[in-house]
């Protein structure tokens, strides 16, 4: 099996897409592991599937629509109770926009 390490800059790019902070040794290890796993996935290349429809749903069924009705939900406090931080009836998050704080 070809041992193709994923280059460091690619690992960092994917980590950024995934919003994952990686420690140095972690990024290195993942480069090796993902390389090995993806080399195994290349076994799919021996199949010619260009003309085969992909399966996104294993059991074919339509997209069901529910009736357009109001259904009860929990009061706001119920959701906020699970939040790491809340204030003024909302989720409190770190500053998103530059400028005024």
């Amino acid at each position: 099996m070809a041992q193709t390490k994923i280059p460091r800059d690619q690992v960092e790019h994917v980590a950024k897409l995934a919003s994952l902070m990686l420690a140095d040794d972690e990024a290195d290890r993942l480069g090796h592991e993902l390389g090995e796993i993806l080399a195994y996935m290349a076994s799919l290349d021996e199949l010619d599937v260009a003309a085969v429809e992909p399966t996104f749903h294993s059991i074919p069924m339509g997209a069901p629509l529910r009736a357009d009705e109001v259904i009860a939900c929990f009061p706001r406090e119920t959701y906020l109770k699970s939040a790491p931080k809340s204030e003024a009836g909302g989720f409190a998050v770190p500053k998103v926009l530059e400028g005024e704080g």
Binding site: S19, E33, L47, V49, I59, R66, A83, P94
Partner: protein, 497 residues
């Protein structure tokens, strides 16, 4: 093994429910007995992450009062059941065995938890798993591994390892697990139990913390096919809160238990995957197939030519879906938060601290497979090969009613054995992945035991919605085999509990 008089915890779901209904058992006594066993044995097994002593007793008392008042009892009334900790419970924490959700308590119950309550079951607590159900060992739990009751140095399998351990050790009569790529079947095989992975859409996923949405199903683990079928009957059915829920009326999946299986066409899987199994597994599987023939089944050779590709397909599709599903864990609305500079840094640091190694690995793998430039080569190609796997099954089921294969290539491995070789671990899933990818129901049932005393399992796969047939065949097989599901060291007469 000499047959001994059964202890109350050796009774099956069906017998417990019958005993409570006819008054020979009290629900409270039954739950107290199981709570005491958890106290005694779970210190070694670590199958439970949370035990709800007060809640379980209160439910048992309700059942006893209902019976005393002459009210009709529901099908699982008083039966002690454990639930995997990736199903939402509003009275218990739901952690997915992740630091990310340590202490999290959802405001609602999963559909299956509502169903269990409506069926009168007593929910004992929440069981350990590989973090977010990603793994085949239960080693990937942030709260420590679960041990196999048959050999404490070995894994109970995963990801529903806590559920399987608790049922095998008689700490619960049955348990719910979830199965994305074998996560109820492989632990059942490792622990000498029966598990059902239902047809995709048979059981609502509402309140099951999503891992890979096109594959996830909740399924029961029990000590017999009949018991597993009884639990499945309670949790299956249409639920509008899951858009992939199949709109079918309820069904008694045990309706044909006890019936002969003469004439059932059993497709016997042949090919390389079988030859790579442990020799004892091969022999046990062969004997199992012979037993099915002796019971009157008609054997047919079947091939699933693309089965071997199932591993590559699954380990692209499932991580891709997982990377998307787990994006919600960003430390803003629930779970932990690790403040670090601005919003993006806080996301990244929270996820770095909250997720374990295997979860990060799969998020990275899935994000890679979905990323620009790789989508066609990996994700889309995998979904195309998935179609070939479905087609293989369609061709096979033209010739047979069920397909028999081993559940796993080998018996339970040692805890930590494959920590440093994720790919080797993935390859062990060869038999359990194809039914998941095709959305088909499959039952894992014990078929033997190794010379060193570890259970071995056989998998029966059926066409869509054929769970009742699978339960019937597994039930007939189990009654003929008379597998002794009691692990050594959990003796029948010795405990005071």
């Amino acid at each position: 093994m000499p047959s001994m008089p059964a202890e109350v915890h050796d009774l099956g779901v069906t017998e417990m429910a019958a005993g409570i209904a006819d008054g020979s058992l009290s629900a409270r006594a039954l739950v107290d007995h199981h709570l005491a066993r958890i106290e005694t044995h779970d210190a070694h097994l670590h199958g439970f992450l949370h035990v709800d002593v007060a809640g379980a007793r209160a439910q048992a008392d309700r059942i006893d009062r209902a019976r005393a008042a002459g009210k009709p009892l529901a099908p699982l009334a008083g039966v002690p059941i454990a639930v995997k900790d990736n199903m939402c419970t509003r009275t218990m924490p739901t952690t997915c065995a992740s630091r990310m959700l340590a202490g999290y308590q959802p405001p609602y119950d999963a559909h299956v938890v509502e169903c269990l309550a409506a069926a009168g079951a007593v929910i004992l607590g929440k069981t350990n798993l590989d973090e977010f159900a990603m793994g085949s060992s239960t080693d990937n739990s942030a709260f420590g591994p679960t041990h196999n009751p048959w050999d404490l140095t070995r894994s109970p399998g995963g990801s529903s390892g806590g559920s399987a351990s608790s049922v095998a050790a008689r700490l619960s009569a049955a348990a719910l697990g979830s199965d994305t790529g074998g996560s109820v079947r492989q632990p059942a095989a490792f622990c000498g139990l029966t598990a059902i992975k239902p047809t995709y859409g048979r059981v609502s996923r509402y309140g099951l913390v999503a891992f890979a949405s096109s594959l996830d199903q909740v399924g029961p683990i029990a000590r017999s096919a009949r018991d597993a079928g009884r639990v499945l009957s309670a949790i299956a059915g249409y639920d509008r809160r899951d858009a992939t829920s199949i709109d079918r009326p309820g069904e008694d999946f045990t309706a044909s238990c006890g019936e002969a299986i003469r004439g059932v066409r059993v497709g016997v899987l042949a090919g390389a995957a079988l030859e790579q199994c442990d020799p004892e597994m091969q022999a046990s599987f062969k004997a199992g197939v012979q037993r099915l023939q002796d019971l009157g089944c008609q054997l047919v050779d079947v091939k699933l030519p693309h089965m071997g590709h199932g591993i590559a397909v699954y380990y692209l599709v499932a991580p891709a879906e997982a990377s998307s599903n787990l994006a919600r864990f960003d430390g803003m609305r629930y779970g932990m938060r690790k403040p670090s500079g601005d919003l993006r840094q806080t996301y990244a640091q929270t996820r770095a601290d909250g997720f374990g190694t295997e979860v990060k690995r799969r998020i990275m793998l899935g994000t890679y497979a979905l990323s620009s430039g790789y989508y066609d080569a990996f994700y889309l190609k995998a979904q195309r090969v998935r179609t070939l796997i479905r087609n293989d099954y369609e061709a096979a089921f033209a010739k047979c009613d069920v397909i028999a294969s081993p559940t796993t290539p080998r018996p339970a491995f040692e805890i930590g054995a494959m920590h440093d070789d994720p790919l080797a671990m993935y390859l062990e899933d060869i038999f359990v992945l194809p039914p998941s990818l095709a959305g088909l129901p499959a039952v894992a049932t014990p078929c033997g035991i190794t010379r060193s005393g570890l259970p071995l399992g056989m998998q029966l796969t059926g066409s869509a919605l054929s769970e009742a047939k699978l339960v019937q065949v597994a039930d007939a097989f189990e009654r003929d085999l008379a597998f002794d599901s009691l692990p050594p060291g959990l003796g029948r007469a010795s405990e005071g509990a």
